[in-house]
């Protein structure tokens, strides 16, 4: 645990140094840029709010990817699952009667989004278990299916202006966290709650015990009476549901309608978050905050360096952490091999 944190920390330092070289290359002082980035993100309540707003969906997609990872699956479909979830959340919010009490309205909308994501993820799981199609291919292809389906359904029936759906009714909106007009909203609490739930599930429940065993050693798990196919489908359903909850942040907490391309890229970044957070819910929250900081920080220092520098920095961090993960895995095996 301690070595993990140290290695990840070392990877981050190396990435920051590489970033410094880039910043220096465009003719700015790295210290000044990093300093400005920090003061404009964690230094002001607006900046901090924006970091939280960007971190919220990353927590959810990071969790989504990590749940699949834990049972040995690679869910590349968070992108499509969150799009489907957001779309359905918005539709649900738009058709709910205005008289419904808000807790019920919000819960229904979030649940609808999670079910949509779960359906898409579950479908990929069924295709794998039943027909042996690899989940990477399934989830990538379902991303296209989801985005095309949403576009068609929206154009044919639901889009009122350009590519927006109707605005959701007021009782389904999530209030802002009140951080100086930033977009951070209460869906952050939902994300943290779900992270805690995922941690509890894996560490304490019988099913979590079996799911982890499937990820670590499928044949031993099978020998222990676990039905692997069921676990694969279950994990993809949960993974999809977590990605589908992203709509709570963008739709219920921010835009109040679905717009084409909402949350684009967050699904892919979820893979990076899961990697960076070592699949651990607490690590995922930390990783989401870090990447959220970079995403908003890139905008905040745009007057000094092009924001593309920060996209590169994100990628360098991911590469550094990926290398660190391989290193950690090798260490773990080496310490076991002495037996």
């Amino acid at each position: 645990m301690k070595r993990e944190a140290l290695t990840i920390g070392a990877a981050l330092v190396i990435a920051a140094l590489a970033g410094s070289v880039l910043i220096w290359f465009v003719g700015q002082s790295p210290l000044e840029v990093y300093g400005m980035m920090l003061s404009r993100t964690w230094g002001t309540s607006y900046g901090f709010g924006e970091v939280l707003f960007r971190a919220t969906p990353l927590i959810l997609t990071g969790l989504s990817v990590s749940v699949a990872f834990k049972v040995g699956l690679f869910n590349i479909g968070a992108e499509g699952q969150l799009a489907a979830g957001s779309f359905v959340t918005a539709l649900c919010g738009a058709v709910l009667p205005a008289s419904l009490p808000w807790p019920l309205a919000v819960a229904l909308c979030v649940l609808a989004g999670m079910i949509a994501g779960a359906g898409l993820g579950g479908l990929a799981g069924v295709l794998k278990v039943r027909y042996g199609a690899h989940e990477v291919i399934n989830t990538i292809m379902l991303n296209f299916v989801a985005s095309a389906l949403i576009l068609w359904a929206g154009n044919a029936h639901f889009f009122v202006r350009d590519t927006h759906t109707r605005t959701i009714s007021d009782n389904a909106t999530l209030p802002a966290l009140g951080l100086a007009g930033s977009h951070a909203n209460t869906s952050l609490l939902l994300a943290i709650g779900l992270a805690a739930a995922v941690a509890y599930f894996f560490n304490r429940t019988r099913r979590g015990f079996e799911w982890r065993a499937v990820g670590l050693s499928p044949r031993a798990a099978q020998n222990a009476g676990v039905r692997i196919g069921g676990v694969i489908i279950g994990a993809m359903v949960v993974s999809g549901a977590l990605a589908g909850a992203v709509g709570a942040n963008y739709v219920l907490g921010y835009k109040h309608y679905y717009e084409r391309g909402i949350g684009g890229g967050v699904g892919v970044m979820g893979i990076a978050v899961a990697l960076l957070g070592r699949n651990h819910p607490a690590g995922i929250i930390a990783a989401a905050l870090l990447l959220g900081t970079l995403a908003h920080g890139g905008l905040a220092v745009a007057e000094l360096v092009p924001k593309e520098i920060f996209y590169i920095l994100q990628a360098v961090i991911i590469l550094a952490v990926a290398c660190a993960s391989v290193y950690l895995g090798r260490r773990a095996r080496a310490s076991g091999a002495q037996a």
Partner: protein, 196 residues
């Protein structure tokens, strides 16, 4: 698989790393693997206290080292890993048949003896023990009845008193290669039965 366990079957697989253990799990987690349903409280939550107690009990009974229930199994010696597997399989509720496949492969002498003793004890408790092994002396020492297989067929069955003969191992070896009954090709496998 679950149905088999419910019927009272226990199984020490041939390859403990592949089939019997999750190497990244702790000793206590591996000790309940396959019995995880017996250690749940309300809402399917694992009862950690009971898992821990079970681990401490089995570690004591079977002298598993290191005696730390939270130790990761990957770093343990082969003998202790195998003792863990045997301990777990023998601790199954309603145990009536135990199948041991090469239970002492890659295991140090001390652990071999401990495992042998446990198998005999299980037999004395009335558990039917089926031992499959390539270790002929092990088969001779433990078996009540020994069946020799060649090309998927039983070519001979030896009883306890026949197994006492001095040259029995040579005979069994010959039968395994098909040479004894007059055939002469291929490899074979022995099966021993300690039925009671």
């Amino acid at each position: 698989v679950l149905e088999r366990y419910r019927a009272g079957l226990a199984h020490v697989p041939e390859d403990r790393h592949d089939r019997a253990l999750v190497l990244d799990y702790s000793i206590q987690d591996n000790l309940i693997l396959g019995q995880q349903r017996d250690f749940v409280g309300t809402l399917d939550v694992l009862d950690r206290r009971r898992v821990h107690q079970q681990a401490e009990k089995l570690i004591r009974e079977f002298d598993i080292r290191p005696p730390d229930p939270t130790h990761q199994v990957r770093g343990m010696s082969g003998g202790n890993q195998q003792k863990l597997v045997v301990a777990r399989e023998l601790s199954r509720r309603g145990l009536s048949v135990l199948i041991c496949s090469q239970p002492t492969r890659g295991v140090d002498i001390g652990a071999i003896e401990a495992i042998h003793r446990r198998m005999i004890e299980a037999r004395d408790r009335g558990v039917a023990v089926l031992l499959l092994s390539a270790e002929l002396s092990e088969l001779r020492d433990l078996s009540d009845r020994l069946a020799v297989l060649y090309k998927g067929e039983i070519v001979a069955t030896l009883d306890r008193d026949q197994l006492g003969a001095d040259d029995v191992l040579d005979k069994v070896g010959a039968m395994m290669t098909g040479a004894w009954p007059g055939r002469a090709d291929g490899a074979a496998k022995t099966t021993a039965e300690g039925a009671r």
